[in-house]
C-alpha cells in the first residue's frame, strides 16, 4: 500500500506540477523542505583551475559554475588608451542540463553574459585602469569564461559569484618589454629583466641591456563586491533561489544585486506574467541584504587578500 502511495506522489508531481507545487506553497515550504526565503547551501572555492590566471568553483545547491580567467596582452584603442578590458562569456554546454542543445548559445546564457559584463566593467565596481600596462602601448585583456557544469536553476547568482571570485583570484604577472619592443609576460624574460635591473642598481649604471620591467606582479581587486539574489514569484509568493523544477512554474523572476554598502547594483525584472508591486520589490531588496550577509563571509574566507573596500 505504501509503495503505491509513493508512486502516486511521483506521478502527480510529473503530471500536475503546478498543483503539486501549490500544495507545498500553501504550507509555506517547498518540495525540497526549504522555507520560501531560504537559499540552498552555497560554497565557493578559488583557484580550482591551476592553469588559469584566476579561477573559482561555485556551488549553489546542485547548480555548479566554474569560472576561469585567461590573461592576454593587447594594444589598447586610442579612445581607451589607459584601460584594459574584461570579456565575460557564460556558457551552458549540453552536459549541464537535459534541455540544452549544442550549437548556438541559449538566450539565458547570453543574457547572463551581458548582465555580468555590465556589472563587472562598471567603474564603481571594477577599475579597468588596473589592467593598463603602458598607456597607449599595452594593456591586459581578461577573458572571463564561466561554464555551467550542472544547471539546477538560478544559474545567474552562481555565475556572478563565480565571476567575482575568479576575478579577485587573479594575480597579474609582471610585464617586461623586450629589446625588439615586444611586451611580454614570459617568466624567463621577466626574470632576466629583474636580474638586469638588480645589476644596474648595484653598479649604478644605466640599465644597458635594454629590457625593463613595465609593471610588477600584483593582485586584481574590486572596488566593491557585488552579490546577487534571484527570487521567483508564484501566485504572489516570493521564492528565493528557485531550483530548476521550480523555475518552470514561476510567473516571473526578480534579480537584485547589492554591494557591501547596500547600494543597488542592479534590479532586474524582465517582463513575465505578473507585475511586481513596490512592496514585493522592497521585499526582494531586503532578502538580498540578508543573502549578502550570508555569502560575503564565504568570499572573504577564500580570497581575504583580494578584496578591498
Amino acid at each position: 500500500m505504501s509503495t503505491s502511495h509513493a508512486l502516486d506522489a511521483e506521478a502527480y508531481r510529473k503530471i500536475y506540477p503546478a498543483e503539486f507545487y501549490k500544495k507545498f506553497l500553501d504550507e509555506k515550504v517547498r518540495p525540497d523542505g526549504r522555507p520560501l526565503g531560504r537559499c540552498r547551501a552555497t560554497s565557493v572555492a578559488a583557484g580550482a583551475v591551476s592553469k588559469a590566471d584566476g579561477s573559482a568553483l561555485v556551488k549553489i545547491g546542485n547548480t555548479t559554475m566554474i569560472a576561469g580567467v585567461k590573461l592576454e596582452i593587447m594594444r589598447p584603442t586610442d579612445d581607451a588608451s589607459d584601460v584594459g578590458t574584461v570579456e565575460v562569456t557564460v556558457e551552458m554546454p549540453p552536459l549541464c542540463s537535459a534541455s540544452v542543445r549544442s550549437g548556438r548559445p541559449t538566450e539565458e546564457a547570453q543574457s547572463a553574459s551581458q548582465r555580468i559584463s555590465e556589472v563587472l566593467t562598471h567603474p564603481a565596481v571594477f577599475d579597468l585602469t588596473q589592467l593598463c600596462i603602458a598607456k597607449g602601448q599595452a594593456a591586459w585583456v581578461a577573458y572571463l569564461d564561466i561554464f555551467c557544469l550542472d544547471a539546477d536553476g538560478n544559474i545567474f547568482d552562481a555565475a556572478l559569484l563565480a565571476a567575482v571570485a575568479a576575478l579577485s583570484d587573479v594575480t597579474l604577472p609582471a610585464v617586461t618589454v623586450l629589446e625588439d619592443g615586444r611586451v611580454t609576460a614570459d617568466t624567463a624574460a621577466v626574470a632576466e629583466a629583474q636580474a638586469n635591473a638588480k645589476d644596474a642598481m648595484q653598479t649604478g649604471e644605466e640599465n644597458a641591456k635594454g629590457t625593463q620591467i613595465l609593471t610588477s606582479q600584483r593582485q586584481l581587486s574590486l572596488k566593491c563586491v557585488p552579490i546577487g539574489l534571484t527570487c521567483g514569484l508564484n501566485q504572489g509568493h516570493l521564492i528565493a533561489d528557485p531550483c530548476a523544477e521550480e523555475s518552470g512554474l514561476l510567473d516571473t523572476t526578480i534579480t537584485v544585486i547589492l554591494n557591501e554598502s547596500g547600494e543597488l547594483v542592479s534590479v532586474y525584472k524582465p517582463g513575465g506574467n505578473v507585475g511586481a508591486s513596490d512592496a514585493i520589490l522592497m521585499d526582494c531588496i531586503e532578502m538580498s541584504r540578508l543573502r549578502y550577509k550570508e555569502v560575503s563571509p564565504l568570499l572573504e574566507k577564500v580570497l581575504g587578500k583580494g578584496m578591498s573596500e
Binding site: E108, T252, Y268, D278, L281, M282, I285
Partner: protein, 233 residues
C-alpha cells in the same frame, strides 16, 4: 536647479510621436519617437511557425533587435530577452496556440532611453496588428544623477554622465483580476549603475506617473487614426 541641456524640467518628457501602419508587408508596424530617439517596430503574426518552435499551448514570441549601426551582439540579445519577456506578459498567447508572433525592432536614431522607446514602439505595433493584449504597455527611463537627483527620459549625453539608470514598463489596464499586470505593478525593470534603494523607489514612482501619461498619449493617437476608417460606417 540646473536646467537640462534641452531646457526641460527634471520630470518632463520629450515630445512623443507615433506613426502606425507604415510598413506594407507587416501585419502591424509603428514608429515611435521620444525627442531625437526613434525606433521602428514591425509585428508579424499570429502566423504558422517551424516545428521546433511550435508550442501546443501558446503562441511563440520572437524578438529581433537591430541597433542603428553594426551587427547585433550580446548587448542586443539581452535587450531582445527583456523585450520578449515583456511582450509575453501582455499578449494573450493562449488564444493562438501553435502559432508564432515575431517582433522586429530597428533603432533609427539613438539619443538615449532606447529600450523604453523600443518597448513603446512594440506595444503600438502589436495593437496595430490586432494581436490580443491584456492592456497597453508604456515604458520610460529615469536617470539618477551624480548629485542624487532624478531626471526623466534622459538624453544620450545625460545617460552617459548619470550615476545610474532605471528603465521601467507598466501595463495600463484596470485591476480586475489577480495576476493580471495592473497600473500599480511594475511589469519590467532593468537598471544599470549604482544607487540607493530610496532613489530606486522614487524612480519607480516617477516611472509610474510618466507611463500613465504615455498611455494617455497612445489612447489619443489610436482614437485619431481609427476615426478615419470609421467614416465608411
Amino acid at each position: 536647479m540646473e536646467s537640462r541641456e534641452d531646457g526641460r524640467e527634471d520630470n518632463q518628457m520629450r515630445q512623443l510621436a507615433c506613426e502606425r501602419n507604415l510598413l506594407n508587408r507587416a501585419d502591424g508596424s509603428a514608429r515611435w519617437s521620444q525627442g531625437q530617439s526613434c525606433v521602428l517596430a514591425a509585428v508579424y503574426g499570429p502566423r504558422s511557425t517551424v516545428g521546433r518552435k511550435e508550442n501546443p499551448e501558446q503562441a511563440n514570441i520572437e524578438v529581433v533587435f537591430k541597433p542603428k549601426i553594426g551587427f547585433a551582439g550580446v548587448e542586443e540579445h539581452e535587450l531582445e530577452h527583456v523585450i520578449r519577456k515583456t511582450v509575453e506578459g501582455v499578449v494573450l498567447t493562449s488564444l493562438h496556440p501553435r502559432t508564432g508572433i515575431s517582433v522586429i525592432l530597428q533603432v533609427l536614431q539613438n539619443d538615449g532611453s532606447v529600450l523604453a522607446c523600443a518597448i513603446n514602439a512594440t506595444s503600438m505595433a502589436l495593437i496595430d496588428a490586432g494581436v490580443p493584449l491584456k492592456g497597453l504597455v508604456a515604458a520610460v527611463a529615469i536617470a539618477v544623477q551624480e548629485s542624487g537627483g532624478l531626471i526623466l527620459d534622459p538624453l544620450l549625453t545625460e545617460q552617459k554622465l548619470a550615476r545610474g539608470m532605471v528603465t521601467v514598463a507598466f501595463v495600463d489596464a484596470q485591476p480586475t483580476e489577480a495576476g493580471v499586470p495592473t497600473e500599480a505593478d511594475t511589469l519590467t525593470c532593468t537598471t544599470s549603475g549604482l544607487f540607493s534603494a530610496d532613489q530606486y523607489l522614487d524612480s519607480l514612482n516617477w516611472g509610474r506617473t510618466a507611463c500613465s501619461r504615455i498611455a494617455a498619449f497612445c489612447r489619443v493617437s489610436l482614437e485619431r487614426y481609427q476615426r478615419g476608417s470609421q467614416m465608411l460606417a
